[in-house]
Amino acid sequence: MDYELSNLRALEAESIHIIREVAAEFERPGLLFSGGKDSVVMLHLAVKAFAPCKLPFPVMHVDTGHNFPEVIEFRDRAVQALGARLVVASVQDSIDAGRVVEETGPRASRNRLQTTTLLDAIEEQRFNAVFGGARRDEEKARAKERVYSFRDDFGQWDPKNQRPEVWSLYNGRHKPGEHIRVFPLSNWTELDIWQYIADEHIELPTIYYSHRREVFRRDGMLLAVGPFVTVMEGEETFEATVRYRTVGDASCTGAVESSAATVAEVIDEVAATRITERGATRADDRTSEAAMEDRKREGYF
């Protein structure tokens, strides 16, 4: 026996340690679950962390209403199979209640509106720790964020005033009204996630694998034709073999042309790709150099 853990098993051990630490120190944690691959892996790890006990906290989906039906079907099935409690926080409800105003125009997206819905739901559920599936390799602002990311009364992240995070000693102390966002997958890369999905035979929504879909090209991305996107003049629709690398609001998440139909084929593709997943498929990150930092300051995931 060489007493060595592989990269994936070391990451798994670290994530489970973080998840258990939160369950031990916080009264009311919640886990954000979108049905995207990272949140699926995070939920899988949370279930392992507490086996054979049930998950000691609920799962929450911030639902923009602009969904891929495959993902919602998957979400409900996955949560039910685990016997977990699902809370759905709906952006539509926030719009109806006048908390936010729907963007208009062909490029309208509900992406930014999610922040208000999320913060309202955290308050309503009285969550004091919220697990998110964000990874540091995704984006340069995220590369700077702590595993335990402190949020003030307004849910804001202050990147210049983060608590030092040394060894694996996490400081979750906070006052009423404040909360901690916790990122157990901080040190995982996109490739790690896919290799773990392969190792563990984890099921994902089908849109992660290649399929035929009617799409059109906008800003160098392939957007799916559907009820939430307005095809503008001059934009041509066509059918293509695509898959999704990320799952977000259907109005701003692009597909990539791909014939990768199995986990093994996706791993080959991810290992060879020269474009980041957010760069390839997320219009929300393209607005400016600091788009993610700005949204995170406001309380985004």
Binding site: N7, R20, K48, E165, L169, T189, G279
Partner: protein
């Protein structure tokens, strides 16, 4: 594939960002859209070259000011290893960020400019690496292209640094002459320095032996969480969940629980995929015992004949990290050590250390931001700890300000107060 954590420290002038950029680029961990974005921003800023520092300086304030403020984590992999780089700022005002990055590192990369040799900053970085007990240190003598790849210059720097390092506790020290800008000795051995017979930096990073750095002798299991199903098929199950902090534990082993002092036997150990034959650091497991004894979060499971220190009076080196308060004798703080939380009072400050000269100031009465010193603490409950030099997990702690809840110090235990 094994995982290795690196810590780098330095300023833009050392070529640190260029070096990291090169490692990432040559291992294909930089993507085209990231590079395009960096090229575009460099052009807009009027930089004459593609500024690879923009890849790691992820915050708006960092890009605006052209400095690294906080730790950034970067990832790359070769067929042999996956690497996590904690890229930290080098300036003295960011010592706490350097400590943060160094706390979990297996290897420290310290850069010196071949033209300037060993300067105050390089000595400080080496000291912090040794204080945090990073097992391996690589001194990269960068910008060799600017000194005509002169072997004598390299040897002189090596000699200088060795003299300083003799005062530190560094177990494995390696010197590599490089040019990060041109890639000499970064990924491949350089033709420009035929006199250099060692490995390229990347080859060294892939090959340096880190498995033996872990303590496999002293079994330590801080209890994190108690798993006790409330319903269903597993009503009889009771597992003590946690992450192994040292040594090896197996089913059938006799163990003692601290502080209760009860001994019992390990019945089973569950890993993430069910029962395992052995548990060792850093595995996250759940341990079931044959006897029902009182154990809760913060307790320690270990072997009866190999126990950690237990006590309320400890001496430690600490790095003070608060920019609003100072540490003085009598300060009362919250302490988190392994999974145990308590309160601590500073009984005394023995000395403050000058991180540049290693001079001990015995007359110091306080520690402020980024200052390092030796303190005696008394805690409200006993801690179960090892010397930091023996175990980085059971030998470390953080101090927390009870007023504003921020983490104000990182501590490394020296032993019981004498």
């Amino acid at each position: 594939m094994e995982m290795m954590r690196l810590a780098t420290a330095g300023s833009v002038d050392d070529g640190k960002s260029t070096l990291i950029g090169r490692l990432l680029y040559d291992s294909k961990a930089i993507f085209e859209d990231q590079l395009e974005s960096v090229e575009r921003t460099s052009r807009e800023r009027g930089d004459e070259y593609t500024n690879l520092a923009l890849l790691t300086d992820g915050l708006r304030a960092e890009r605006e000011q052209g400095i690294t403020i906080d730790v950034a984590y970067r990832y790359f992999a070769t067929p042999k290893r996956k690497f996590i780089i904690a890229d930290t700022p080098g300036h003295i005002q960011y010592t706490r960020n350097m400590v943060t990055g160094a706390s979990t590192a297996d290897l420290a990369l310290v850069l010196v400019d071949a033209r300037n040799g060993v300067v105050e900053q390089s000595r400080r970085h080496a000291f912090i690496a040794s204080l945090l007990r990073i097992p391996h240190l690589v001194l990269c003598v960068n910008k060799m292209d600017l000194v005509d790849y002169d072997q004598d210059i390299f040897e002189a720097i090596k000699h200088d640094f060795r003299q300083f390092a003799a005062k530190l506790d560094i177990t494995d020290l390696t010197f590599i002459p490089i040019s990060a800008l041109d890639g000499d000795n970064v990924v491949n051995r350089s033709d420009n320095m035929a006199w250099y017979e060692g490995s390229s930096l990347l080859h060294h990073l892939e090959e340096v032996f880190i498995a033996s750095d872990r303590n496999l002798i002293d079994a330590r299991f801080p209890v994190q969480y108690v798993l006790r199903p409330q319903s269903g098929l597993h009503l009889d199950y009771r597992g003590y969940a946690g992450q192994m902090a040292g040594g090896v534990l197996k089913p059938g082993d006799e163990v003692i629980a601290l502080p209760s002092g009860f001994t019992t036997t390990i019945e089973r150990i569950d890993g993430p995929d069910g029962p395992v034959d052995e548990a060792f650091a850093p595995m996250s497991v759940a341990i079931s015992l044959t006897d029902e004894i009182d154990i809760s979060r913060g307790d320690m499971i270990c072997r009866p004949h190999n126990q950690p220190h237990g006590g309320q009076d400890v001496d430690a080196m600490i790095c003070w990290m608060s920019d609003t308060t100072t540490l003085t004798a009598g300060s009362k703080l919250a302490i988190k050590h392994t999974t145990r939380s308590a309160r601590a009072m500073v009984k005394g400050l023995q000395y403050r250390l000058d991180v540049n000269t290693l001079h001990r100031d015995d007359d110091a009465t306080s520690l402020s931001l980024n200052e390092i010193g030796r303190v005696s603490l008394r805690t409200t409950v006993p801690l179960f700890y090892d010397e930091y030099r023996r175990n980085r997990t059971t030998g470390s702690f953080i101090l927390i300000d009870e007023g504003n809840n921020t983490t104000v110090a990182a501590g490394m235990i020296l032993g019981p107060t004498q």
